[in-house]
Amino acid sequence: MFADLYQQIILEHYRHPQNVGVVDGSLQVRNEHPSCGDKVLLSVCVDGDTVREVRFLGEGCSISQASLSMMTEAVKGLSVDEVRGLYEKFREMLHGHEPDEDALGDMVSLQGVSRFPARVPCATLGWETLFRALALESHEDNPGQPCE
């Protein structure tokens, strides 16, 4: 039995996800894992170099949705570089390294995913999408708008 994969904190985020919704006038990016059907619409506001606001509408398994919920909580207020650093730590954990508990907070609960290679993409869907958004944001002809 995989009790350690499905920790209570994951299930709580799954049942009561944080930062659900769309921010008007924000940069919005859709993503989907075709093989499993997990979907997300991420809206992101970046102010200068700082991630101001992130919300999501998602559909998918507990791992992908809980991970999205935790990510939106964790990245708010961070600089783009800090977001990168945090993701690096998260990814290392998913690839079997000891987690940096202080940095990762709630996200440590996803450590068990590292034993399920097929589920790692679930845990990273939100992050992938976030980086796509940030890449668009920094792009010359940024299709997004400054947040209201």
Partner: protein
């Protein structure tokens, strides 16, 4: 009932050493047969025998190894021919799999015969292999897909067929057994009505050949496609069976060795059936393995294979649908193999992962049937699929596993 299913399982389990495997400390319960079936010893033995004793290329060799390999390869074709009741061996074209077989008929038969506005009739429950192959062709030709709709219980609205067959319907291409809903579709009726309006019919038999008796001639389909790996055979091989007069009239899609009579500098002439469609070195070991799979299943008897599989499938469908908070998609009877279901409050991926923790292999996702899932209103489902390597106890294990799932998610 349990006794019947039990006896077949007991008879064959020794042939599947993988059944002795443990997963996460629990004996494996393999319920992913619709994705690929397990491979019995005699099939592996036949392939290993080829590699260890007659490892040579076919058709073109005069030496002993090549003669032995050619004989084994062509005997495999004969075994497949008898297994599916094709009229002649020239009707049996070896392909890479069911997908390749469906694409071959779509490209070589349908494409040159379709004009803008022509209609290809499929159903709402088709596997991507029988949809995307057509998307490619409709894009190239301007022909259109039309869909046989599903009733609420996941069966075809066969009553609408006369209407659906109106207009320039050139081809009807439908699954014999759905890889999600598991229903055995009334293909005989479809074939009769389609022929009456002059349309050709292809049957995607990936989930039926090797699971129930098949008689290509009696069925009177024009084309039949299936894969080796879903019927106890190896990966890397499938079959397009076609009426010889249709195959004869088709141009090859691939050119190379073995499919020619004469090759000049600028052009070539084609070999006879079935070789015209088998360019290059064929999947030799795989064909021999598929032949052995036909013998293996034939030895059990396809009526017995079907009875066993259908009993377990329907038992599972009935039992799961009876559980609190569990819903089965599709019909509860007339069902062969797959049982797709939902657990309230738990995403199918989580169902699959937690069941894996119990040693139970099921699949979660859209099962290569996205449009069907749109129709079902679910982006994913969990699917348990049964075959001869299952026993009634597996249904008990599945039920117990689902109870664990519900407990972990607190939905009980």
């Amino acid at each position: 009932m349990k006794a019947v299913a039990d006896s077949l399982w007991k008879q064959v389990r020794e042939d599947f050493p993988i059944l002795a495997r443990e997963v996460h400390g629990r004996p494996l319960v393999y319920l992913d047969n619709a994705a690929t079936s397990l491979t019995p010893r005699p099939v592996l033995a036949a392939m290993n025998h080829y590699y260890e004793h007659a490892n040579a290329n076919v058709h073109r060799g005069l030496h002993t190894l090549s003669a032995e390999a050619s004989e084994a390869f062509e005997q495999a074709r004969d075994k497949v021919q008898r297994f599916i009741g094709a009229r002649g061996r020239e009707s049996v074209v070896f392909t890479r799999g069911a997908t390749s077989a469906l694409n071959l008929a779509a490209r070589a038969w349908a494409r040159p015969r379709l004009a803008r506005g022509d209609v290809i009739l499929v159903s709402e429950l088709e596997h991507h292999a029988n949809l995307v192959s057509w998307h490619i062709i409709t894009k190239e030709t301007g022909a259109k897909l039309r869909f046989i709709p599903l009733a609420d219980d996941g069966t075809w609205r066969i009553d609408l067929l006369p209407e659906l067959l109106q207009g320039p319907v050139k081809m009807v291409s439908v699954a014999h057994v759905s890889n999600v809903l598991g229903g055995i579709n009334p293909v005989k009726e479809v074939i009769a009505q389609a022929h009456a309006v002059g349309a050709k019919v292809m049957i995607d038999a990936a989930q039926s050949v090797g699971h129930m008796p098949m008689d290509f001639q009696a069925l009177d389909a024009d084309f039949l496609a299936f894969s080796g790996h879903k019927m106890c055979g190896p990966t890397g091989i499938g079959v397009l069976c076609g009426k010889a007069e249709l195959l004869d009239d088709m141009e090859p899609v691939e050119g190379g060795g073995d499919m020619i009579v004469h090759v000049g500098w600028e052009e070539s002439t084609w070999n006879l059936l079935p070789y015209k469609f088998e360019a290059g070195t064929p999947p030799i070991a795989e064909a021999i393995g598929l032949g052995a799979a036909c013998e293996f299943l034939g030895g059990i008897g396809l009526d017995r294979v079907r009875a066993h599989t259908q009993e377990l499938t329907e038992l599972a469908a009935r039992t799961l649908d009876g559980m609190d908070g569990v819903h089965v998609y599709g019909p509860l009877v007339g069902r062969l193999g797959p049982v797709a279901f939902a657990v309230d409050g738990v995403h199918p991926h989580d169902v699959a992962t937690l069941l894996d923790g119990e040693g139970i292999a099921v699949r979660a996702g859209h099962h290569c049937a996205q449009p069907l899932h749109t129709k079902l209103g679910a982006s994913a489902t969990a699917r348990a699929s049964f075959y001869i390597t299952n026993q009634p106890e597996d249904v008990d294990r599945l039920v117990a596993g689902l109870q664990v799932v519900q407990e972990v998610f607190g939905v009980r």
